[in-house]
């Protein structure tokens, strides 16, 4: 299978990358790639557009950040706690949201996210506008010090691979097939006897947990958690990444995240620094007008057509 070779090649590249590029930048890419993959699980495979997914990223970041700052725990415990809380928030939100469809689903998630944003703004443990600063990275299992960027990078890479494989397995499992069936034709899935809302809910919780994983990891990488992580702009950004890369494809969100984060980084240090939002906007419009299948989607079509 040629896909296997491709996957191995990408993995090899990821192993070598920190020798050539600034590791913190690469870690940022990995965190956002995981975030986008988690989001894609919901949008691409279950057909649900959540417009408040940043909440789960931020929940992971705040919980992990707070625990690491307050108690001297090891990072893996901090991350697990972040993921669990994100999943719980996802469970509550999912229960409320999956009853609604299409644009109303998007609206419920947006409104719930705004409520959560308010909570994080006001709650004393988040540091309000200051955010949580100086979160220690700690030592993995109490043994491996993560302060060094190179060590941290391989830790983040491992987390990404675990998250990614989990999504891959989910999508290719019978559960994933049912999700796709719901996306394609919901009434049909219902008439076949599937409890559609339970499937949707499970997908929602899984997606929330993985977004939380990305957030927890991000908090350790940058050693801070802030309101930016829970803002609705961040929710918009993850939609863009997924759309650009190609929703409903396995590698699409990764490619989308690499492109967007890379673009932001490239623009930030160049003469177009003030135009980041403009460029993002243009990318949005191009995506919608010219290639709704995203980069990977178009690529696949090209391959199918010509080979």
């Amino acid at each position: 299978m040629k896909n296997k070779k491709l996957n191995l090649a990408i993995f090899g590249l990821a192993l070598l990358a920190p020798f050539a590029l600034y590791p913190v930048f690469l870690m940022k890419v990995l965190c956002f790639a995981l975030f986008a993959c988690a989001f894609n699980l919901l949008l691409g495979f279950a057909g649900l557009l959540s417009f408040g997914h940043a909440i789960f990223l931020g929940t992971g970041a705040y919980v992990t950040g707070y625990l690491m700052l307050t108690y001297s725990i090891t990072p893996e415990i901090g991350i697990v706690a972040g993921v669990i809380v994100s999943a719980l928030v996802g469970l509550v939100y999912g229960k409320l949201a999956v009853k609604r469809e299409g644009i109303y689903f998007a609206m419920v998630t947006l409104a719930l996210a705004q409520l959560m944003f308010f909570f994080y703004l006001q709650a004393p443990f988040t540091g309000g506008e200051d955010g949580l600063q100086g979160v220690p990275r700690g030592a993995l299992f109490g043994l491996i010090d993560l302060t060094d960027n190179m060590v941290m990078y391989y830790f983040v890479l491992a987390i990404f691979v675990i998250g990614f494989l989990l999504i891959y397995r989910t999508v290719h499992s019978p559960f994933g097939q049912v999700l796709k069936a719901i996306r394609e034709n919901e009434p049909r899935a219902i008439s076949l006897g599937y409890k559609v809302n339970q499937y949707k809910l499970l997908a929602f919780v899984l997606s929330a947990a993985l977004a939380g994983l990305a957030g927890s990891t991000k908090a350790l990488v940058f050693q801070l958690a802030s309101l930016n992580d829970v803002h609705w702009f961040m929710s918009g950004e993850v939609v863009l990444m997924t759309l650009l890369g190609g929703m409903g494809t396995i590698w699409g969100p990764v490619l989308g995240a690499v492109t967007i984060v890379g673009l932001q980084n490239f623009l930030a240090s160049g003469p177009l620094a003030n135009y980041i939002h403009v460029v993002m906007g243009v990318v949005f419009i191009l995506c919608v007008l010219a290639f709704r299948n995203g980069l990977v989607g178009e690529l696949q079509r090209l391959v199918k057509k010509n080979f």
């Binding site: 644009i103 609206m107 947006l110 135009y275 403009v278 007008l289």
Partner: protein, 305 residues
């Protein structure tokens, strides 16, 4: 003078509630509600008649405020002319937007129009941030509306009173035009059953374009109205957009009267919240939105889907 107010404030308490303070907040809420109503109206027209989710409404409101500022700064066009010319300009911009960007995806899922117009909003905000910085520009209150009126419970600046009167008039007139006149009937028919109207020889694409232009023009108008009281800044649109969006959803997507009433009501609810629990004032609308969506997903005034 301060002591007059303070004394009054102390006296006008009821069950431990400072009534003067409360009335003041309610009035300020009504002023904000007028903006919400105007913006929500434009959004509701565009969604109700065209089924386009216009996420750039906030950015076009910002564009309206900046156009008024530039007109005054560079062309010496005063506030009153701006009130007339800016909505036309912004509306014309909207027409171009509809014609070249939105029409090509008219038959796709609604979510695509949301994403596309979100992109437009990002571009506008980015450009204006680069050109004018984000610290905000001052726009003077027109001479005729300076000063204020002393009410028993507060000092009401004349311009704020003007905002309420003017925007309510515009909202009422628009509602009347769409719901009660022949022109409005054509409009509703043309968008509900385009084939039939086309067969009657009515140019439906033109109607769509003009309707979009009108809805967007309302955002421009709100922008001019806002310029003298809020600082004219590139972020003014993105801050208000989500709130206005929530209002349209609460009112029932596409319900024009619903958008206007909800806009005013939410302004007042916000005012109440500012009095009792100020920190939550930005959030209370979303709480209402969640509740409404869970109980009556088509919104307070929407038709059952």
């Amino acid at each position: 003078m301060l002591h007059g107010y303070a004394l009054g404030a102390v006296m006008a308490t009821f069950l431990g509630i400072n009534l003067f303070g409360l009335f003041g907040q309610l009035l300020v809420g009504l002023i904000n509600g007028s903006f919400y109503a105007l913006l929500a109206l434009g959004l509701a027209i565009i969604f109700g008649l065209l089924k386009i989710i216009n996420f750039s409404q906030g950015a076009l409101y910002m564009l309206g405020a900046f156009t008024a500022w530039m007109a005054l700064e560079y062309l010496q066009i005063n506030y009153w002319w701006a009130l007339f010319l800016v909505p036309l300009t912004v509306g014309a911009f909207g027409i171009l937007l509809e014609r070249f960007l939105i029409r090509p995806i008219a038959n796709e899922d609604h979510l695509y129009s949301l994403l596309l117009t979100f992109g437009v909003a990002l571009i506008l905000q980015g450009l204006f941030t680069d050109w004018f910085g984000s610290s905000g520009l001052p726009y003077a209150i027109p001479e005729e509306l300076k000063g204020g009126t002393k009410l028993p419970f507060m000092y009401l600046p004349n311009y704020r009173a003007w905002i309420i009167i003017f925007s309510l008039t515009v909202c009422a007139a628009t509602w009347f035009m769409i719901e009660k006149t022949k022109l409005g009937a054509y409009l509703r028919a043309g968008t509900e059953n385009p084939q039939l109207m086309q067969a009657f020889g009515i140019n439906v694409p033109l109607i769509v374009t003009l309707t979009y232009g009108f809805g967007v023009g309302l955002a421009g108008l709100a922008g001019v109205l806002a310029a003298p009281v809020y600082s004219v800044s590139p972020e003014m649109g993105s801050n208000i957009l989500i709130v206005v969006f929530a209002i349209v959803v609460i009112g029932g997507m596409g319900s024009i009267g619903g958008a206007i009433l909800t806009g005013l009501a939410m302004g007042i609810i916000e005012g109440l919240t500012k009095y009792f629990y100020p920190e939550a004032s930005n959030t209370v609308i979303f709480l209402v939105m969640v509740l409404v969506l869970l109980v009556k997903p088509s919104g307070m005034f929407g038709k059952e889907a």
